[in-house]
Amino acid sequence: MPQVTLTVNGKSHTVEVEGRTLLVELLREKLGLTGTHVGCDTSQCGACTVHLNGTSVKSCTTLALQADGGVVTTIEGLAAADGTLHPMQEAFREHHALQCGFCTPGMVMSAVDLVNSNPQGLSESDIRHGLEGNLCRCTGYHNIVKAVAAAWPVMHGKETVAAE
């Protein structure tokens, strides 16, 4: 069987896979990282979003073998070793940006990439369009947009998360 070697959340793994094994199957079933969710399995919902070599991808639409030699970050890799939440996670909590939480890991991963990629700033409309690849059935998006706007200055070192 083919082997994949990749770094996930800072740790190197070598795993046997099939040609058809998806990156999300490798993460959830082989590495036990079940924070990455499968919502639709048809490339629409973004629940399975992880970072591959620094950018957001749908891990249900990526073969494990395509990630060979790559660096993957999942939702489990965001918080600090001592449990301190990533500023985006903290902002989601602060702004009530989740209800059932199913879309949240993918939403947070997309939002982190969006903020990292836009050091010049993000308008409300930029945030709404930037998260088009992630569907949420609960929140109506409004608080997600607020959370992302609040995380931007923290992630770019401009201020700390403040309550509304």
Binding site: G19, T42, G46, V57, T61, T62, L63, N134
Partner: protein, 263 residues
Amino acid sequence: MYDFAYEKPTALAAAVASLAGDMDAKALAGGQTFIPVLKQRLNKPTTVVDLAALGLVGITVTADSVTIGAMTTHGEVALSAAVQKAIPALANLASMIGDWQVRHRGTIGGSLANNDPSACYPSAVLALGATIVTDRRSIAADDYFQGMFTTALEQGEIITKVIFPIPQKAAYQKFRNPASRYAMVGVFVAKTAAGVRVAVTGAAQGGVFRHAAFEAALSANFSPDAIAGIATSADDLNSDIHASAEYRAHLIGVMAKRAVAGT
């Protein structure tokens, strides 16, 4: 998904040989179309040949052309300052494909090889009169698109790059299906020294096509008013749950006028 062997050759000749040696071997680019197809078991390749290590990525701009490697992602085209300057309409088109996750993986070569009747890039390639370069030849846009999901590519032929001549002006307008984000109707208008070319995607059963009546009117007078009175026939246009053929025919005129106004 059926299982398959996976190869990631590092030389174009090796990739071509793998595809030529086996009728059931298939190329893989960004996988944003192909992996969903595999999941639905609509395709059963023996071997999947990943094109990612062939060095087909990159954008080169000269005084009169923009050349984009087949494995260049939609995101790279959208964010390229060189493309934004040379052919802003092309960068804008790429920025409206799908969502960021799709744009991070999906490629121009994959989009053109697939030739989905609702895909965006075919309209830019046809309207700008681009040239599709493969492992074995160059194909003019006018000869390349041969109907829905059908192209001039031979079995196992690999697109390596696409060369776009820089127009005087161009613009793309897309009426998106709000769920899939594909074009319900997309119109790409390009004004070149040789005249105006207008390509329509998303609308016709046969895929992307040139709109001769709009081209003639706009070549004489490049303004939205020039095409305001020209009706598009609904014959051969798609009707589905999203839009009737008549509605698509109407949208073609609206999108074309907006594109001309937006150049």
